[in-house]
Subunit: 321 residues, 2 copies
């Protein structure tokens, strides 16, 4: 039973994309509940400028308010030195840095070129230093960019190499707009693991084109054991209105549990937490398991069937066997 590590992104990547401001106390209560679900990491919030992302303007208050569960890492998005200083003041376990391996996507998303982003993130790594706080780099569009199209594998490996040289602990391969497909995922995952055996490697899929769980399967077959996902599938894709965004955490855990992996997760508790989301955000989520139930959440046998069944089921069964 192979151990997998699940990382929740809804309270950062999800809430950041909601129009409704989630009250600080509601964020704290949800994160405290998530802390009991078995996650390896929870991306709590983002230390970006409150003006840029008002949805997460309460980053300090949230970090101060949550109850830390031993064994769970509390990570936050850190865009720059100012954000790093704020985050370090809150006692984070990990800083998650973000840039895109696609030039047009980095410019569109972060309003700088990639070299500017790298320089800024290098400074962040310098501020965080080699102390107890880990650094992870989430690389966007590694499986394709909605403007550039295919992204050369050598570009991806080149950027990982540069961050590895700075001493980061981990890298997240992000399928930012759902362009990854299974054979590609397997090939890139293998290359990254071979070339960077000491890096903690996370895969982050979007379900924009329905392939997130298939891609997860391919990543598992390439030895990946760490996955981002979002409670209820919160967090959208800006390039396709109405399309799905982040893969849904409960859909992912449900599949992995069925396959016999040890996710460490309490799926029922995750589902209960996910059921709270519509009340917080004001709309339904794309969670499939919340809608359909778990695989063995059975339905009652209709009465007309039940009475018929009793009469002949046994005789019938004997004949088949």
């Amino acid at each position: 039973m192979k151990r997998l590590f699940m990382q929740e992104v809804a309270t950062r990547d999800g809430f950041q994309n909601e129009k409704t401001f989630i009250e600080t106390e509601d964020k704290i209560a949800l994160i405290n509940e998530l802390s009991q679900c078995g996650y390896a990491k929870i991306e709590v919030t983002s230390f970006t400028s409150p003006k840029a992302i008002p949805a997460l303007r309460d980053a300090e208050a949230v970090m101060a308010g949550i109850k830390r569960e031993p064994g769970v890492e509390y990570t936050v998005l850190v865009p720059n030195v100012r954000g790093a200083e704020r985050a370090l003041g809150c006692g984070i376990d990990e800083a998650n840095l973000v840039m895109s391996v696609s030039e047009p996507h980095n410019r569109s998303n972060l309003r700088m070129n990639r070299e500017q982003s790298f320089a800024q993130l290098k400074d962040v790594v310098g501020v965080i230093g080699q102390g107890p706080v880990a650094v992870n780099v989430s690389l966007s569009t590694v499986f394709g960019c909605p403007m550039q199209g295919d992204v050369p594998v050598e570009d991806v490996l080149g950027w990982i190499e540069r961050f590895a040289a700075l001493g980061v602990r981990g890298v997240t391969l992000c399928d930012t707009t759902g362009m990854a497909y299974p054979s590609q995922v397997q090939a890139l995952s293998r290359r990254v693991r071979e070339q960077f055996p000491h890096l903690q490697v996370t895969l982050h899929f979007h379900n924009t084109r329905g392939m997130a769980l298939a891609n997860t399967l391919s990543a598992l077959q390439a030895g990946i054991n760490r996955f981002d996902a979002s409670l209820g599938g919160l967090g959208g894709c800006p390039y396709a209105p109405g399309a799905s965004g982040n893969v849904c955490m409960e859909d992912l855990v449900h599949m992995l549990d069925l396959m016999g992996y040890d996710t460490g997760m309490d799926i029922d508790r995750v589902l209960a937490a996910s059921a709270l989301l519509p009340g917080l955000i004001g709309h339904d989520t794309p969670s499939q398991i919340l809608r359909a139930g778990k695989r063995l959440d059975l339905h009652p046998i209709p009465e007309h069937v039940h009475s018929l069944s009793k009469q002949v089921a046994n005789a019938d069964k004997e004949r088949v066997q």
Copy 2:
């Protein structure tokens, strides 16, 4: 490049579940369009009682009206001898028989016990005989039943054995309510292929719990090369309101094409056909690719990014490599 065979079920399994009656001429026009898309089989309609399924009461007219494309097999659902006689009168290529391997599901769905279903279908096989018309049996709930729960593999193999003994050409393993999961799919597919090497084996997945494409991947790895799916994902699941039903044909073909399989399909033509569905059925479909576009349907670079890009993109690229 491995050849796969795609089988469309929307005009039967999909339309059967729609509240709106699709006009006969619209059905014919859609099927004629689908005939140009590269399908191995199209399940055109069902020769059930027009009273039981009024949505498909025009089965004869549809079969008479469509233009047959050489190389495409036109299959129909046949529930009983009366239906077989009607279908044979229409010059079908294949009769598709249906029963459930779960006793409560068979009773609930077909209002008979499994032995009664088998006896009825055996008579159908007798009527069709060993002539030019092939027989396929679609076995429901082989990966689990929403009332019974897990269905023993030996039950599934036992029912296949009984139909194989009647001389049917093929069997479809149906995940009727989306209970299949990847490792289970792989194990059962392997068993069926080993034990029945001469049967044409089709896998039929529902995306109720998001796993349809992951399950397809597992089936491929077990050597399965034939898949049912439904244009636009039409065709629902009666046990979970709002949940997804049949896996969406264009989502499936999109993934398989990307992985380098030879599906024989013209994905653009499939998407164009799928785009006609909302006009016919009066509501949107769960198609992900119709919403998000194909993987490399790129988006324009925003102007502010574009002008910035020109200045530094080349220098930047050189530095990364």
